[in-house]
Symmetry: C2
Subunit: 448 residues, 2 copies
């Protein structure tokens, strides 16, 4: 099947186009390091830079099977560089860490990781401290654009009262260091609470949990179901009756349960709760089902507008209400929604889709306290340019590619990359993360 | 002088490149409508869509010389479409307004404006309301990408307790409708308070105000000095002694006062206060002075890092402290800082610059309460791809252009476009806007 990425690769291999591509510095992508069970977390030791915060952060890392370095040794390939900047109080405090990271960069292995750990720049801080903390974002996002060979750069932001040794920080760090975050780049994860604990079985962190995934017959939804299963969950896969055959195939492949259901039906919540309730309780719900009905707004009709808003936004809102009212919700429920970078930056021809996906971002932010009251979380994952059947069917695929030509990783992501982020947010390690939207976009240029 | 834009235009006019450009749908830019004194605010009447909020919003508009329509009349060219969405409480409430805007789009004149007016999606709302409010952002940002002919789309967000007829809303709307906002596209202005009043002389809103502009010898700084002067301010232009000759020329051109000063000197604040104090008081300070010392972080040295952080961030922080401690600050002081889209999204080779400009964003956010306590505001303007001598000197200009190839307006902005945004934030009409960063970027793709 020809994907948009294939179109681009074919175009760019034409001699004339190659010359133009060279002129503009267009991509020759690296193969990304992706998760395989049993492989080490990182391709080398972790250099942890910083003061006493770095000591505290490094404490639990050997338990993850990591070797720690506090200084770069010339010639030793590093799996990751972690810069702990939790004590930054003014602009002058950034230099030492930034330059130390820079000095160690040449030792970073292909597929390596940079992670900054710093405090959130809240409004109530003195200006110099807020400036320095916000400065970390400019530093990290620029640095992420400088990395090559499939390496990524991301940050962890500590909320008020959260210290570097909080379990949620270790959990977020583990995800960002691992191959599970292959296409997460230039992003910040806010750890806003001290909740969370290491999984009893790190390779099967969702063992014993029941998950529901909507829109699971193909593409990103099928990948999510597979990854949740791989991580130990019992999965109920949901899709419309028209996709029944594909849905059954997914369910068979993962030993899950198929539920043919149109999520816009008034009784959809009751049906899902009934089906998943047969497993005893519902721990994880992934609102992945989504449709596009692209048209320029000048040509938009009510049918296209309403269909997209109904499936992508109104249905998840109703399902969440039903779930929160149900007594079958587990003790630490997780809801993960699929947003989109279109919902952040907008996209030509997608006013309806972007409105629905921006809506998801607003929904998770304001639903966070409701889930926290139940011991749970709700977050969104916003895919950027992911290679799926849907992108392959795009009418002007080459133009779409041109628009997003230069993510730092120089390639589109895979459905699996989105699924890994969903699985992370579905587990106990992400208990401190609530109401957030995590982009899985290879730091593609989307605007806002 | 060859600018980066010229380089792109030359390249794209080569037959082979033109074919590639056509393949990718690359730009053939429109001439933007830019402000000239005496011209009407808009090239046609304003269609105001919505319920009772639309009535309230439309009330003061005839005083701005605008003709109001509440329904599109077929064949009449519209100067603007304003959609008032202040009562949106769930996803289904978006359809009517979105489709009404779509139905009127074909009547929008070149250089026309779309403005949405909606409420901020705060965390404490019910999920459906938060979702719908956030949905407006996806809708507007997508729509802005669909406009052609130099038309733009922007939004006004109402803070808690702010209604559509607040003076700050009228002020923000006037700016967004006007030719002063030519390169502001896909952005949201949060009006967070009910402060603000219409200027006594709308064409000279800064009459009687004293302004200080740093880095004013050339480029964006010189343009800011000129526009503030055009709007009525007495301007003190500041730059380093080495730029003394150009600085004097700017001062002469605008009938202002030149102050040769390195803003990183410990006594810089005192010197500026002394000089500007000769005008009686200081009303407006524009922190525009900035430098770049680009290097990949792997090759960065302390000298380059420190110089950029010192000039771009530490010096403005110190100057603000001195100003706030001074008794020469006027009764409604305005501080406007130059950030950059590099500070939002990062930029390869600019870890130091992006850290400093992200720092500015953090600084204005947390300085806002300090200024509010003095009856004033502090905000930032973040230029995207602006054509200046600095961009012309870029070593890989074509590559830079490729990176930002497709802002919705299909061209770089001018220093004047940044200056207009600074002037707006310096005036009484913007009194309700505090702690914000306004991008002037033609909705270019920058990522985050």
């Amino acid at each position: 099947m020809a994907t948009a990425q294939d179109s681009y690769l074919n175009l760019v291999s034409h001699p004339v186009a190659r010359e133009i591509a060279g002129r503009f510095g267009l991509p020759r992508p690296a193969v990304l390091r992706r998760y395989r069970p049993g492989e080490p977390l990182l391709p080398g030791p972790v250099l942890v830079l910083g003061g006493s915060g770095a000591d505290a952060l490094a404490g639990p890392l050997p338990d993850l099977g990591l070797q720690i370095r506090r200084q770069a040794a010339h010639g030793e390939r590093l799996g990751a560089i972690v810069a702990v900047l939790d004590e930054v109080a003014g602009p002058a405090d950034l230099a030492a860490s930034a330059l130390a990271v820079g000095a160690a960069l040449r030792e970073l292995a292909p597929g390596g990781r940079i992670v900054t750990v710093s405090r959130q720049a809240c409004e109530t801080l003195p200006p110099a401290a807020a400036a320095a903390r916000q400065g970390v974002e400019g530093l990290l996002r620029s640095l992420a654009r400088e990395l090559r060979g499939g390496a990524t750069g991301n940050g962890i932001l500590l909320g008020d009262g959260v210290d570097v040794d909080a379990p949620g920080v270790t959990g977020a760090l583990r995800f960002l260091l691992s191959a599970r975050s292959a296409y997460v780049d230039g992003q910040f994860l806010l750890v806003g609470s001290t909740d969370g604990q290491p999984a009893a079985e790190p390779e099967r962190p969702l063992a014993g949990h029941t998950a529901v995934v909507t829109g699971a017959a193909r593409g990103i939804g099928a990948a999510i179901a597979e990854v949740l299963r791989r991580d130990g969950a019992d999965v109920v896969v949901v899709d419309v009756p028209a996709a029944g055959e594909q849905l059954a195939a997914v369910a068979n492949r993962i030993g899950g349960t198929a539920l043919q259901l149109d999520i816009t039906r008034p009784d959809a919540g009751a049906r899902i709760i009934e089906q998943a309730g047969r497993h005893g309780r519902i721990d994880i719900v992934v609102h992945n089902a989504g449709i596009t009905r692209d048209k320029l707004l000048a040509n938009m009709d009510a049918e296209r507008w309403d269909a997209v808003l109904e499936v992508n936004l109104a249905a998840p809102l109703r399902l969440n209400e039903a779930l929160l009212a149900s007594n079958l919700l587990g003790p630490a429920p997780r809801i993960v929604c699929l947003a989109s970078t279109s919902g952040i930056a907008g996209n030509r021809g997608q006013t309806n889709y972007a409105a629905s996906k921006a809506g998801i971002i607003g929904m998770v932010r304001s639903s966070a306290p409701l889930l926290a009251a139940r011991g749970g979380t709700i977050n969104a994952v916003a895919p950027g340019f992911i290679e799926t059947e849907m992108t392959a069917r795009m009418p002007a695929a080459a133009r779409q590619v041109a628009r997003r030509l230069l993510p730092s990783l120089q390639q589109g992501g895979l459905p699996r990359d989105v699924a890994e982020a969903v699985a992370f947010l579905s587990g106990g390690a992400a208990a401190g993360i609530n109401g957030q939207t995590l982009r899985v976009c290879g730091q593609s240029l989307v605007g806002a």
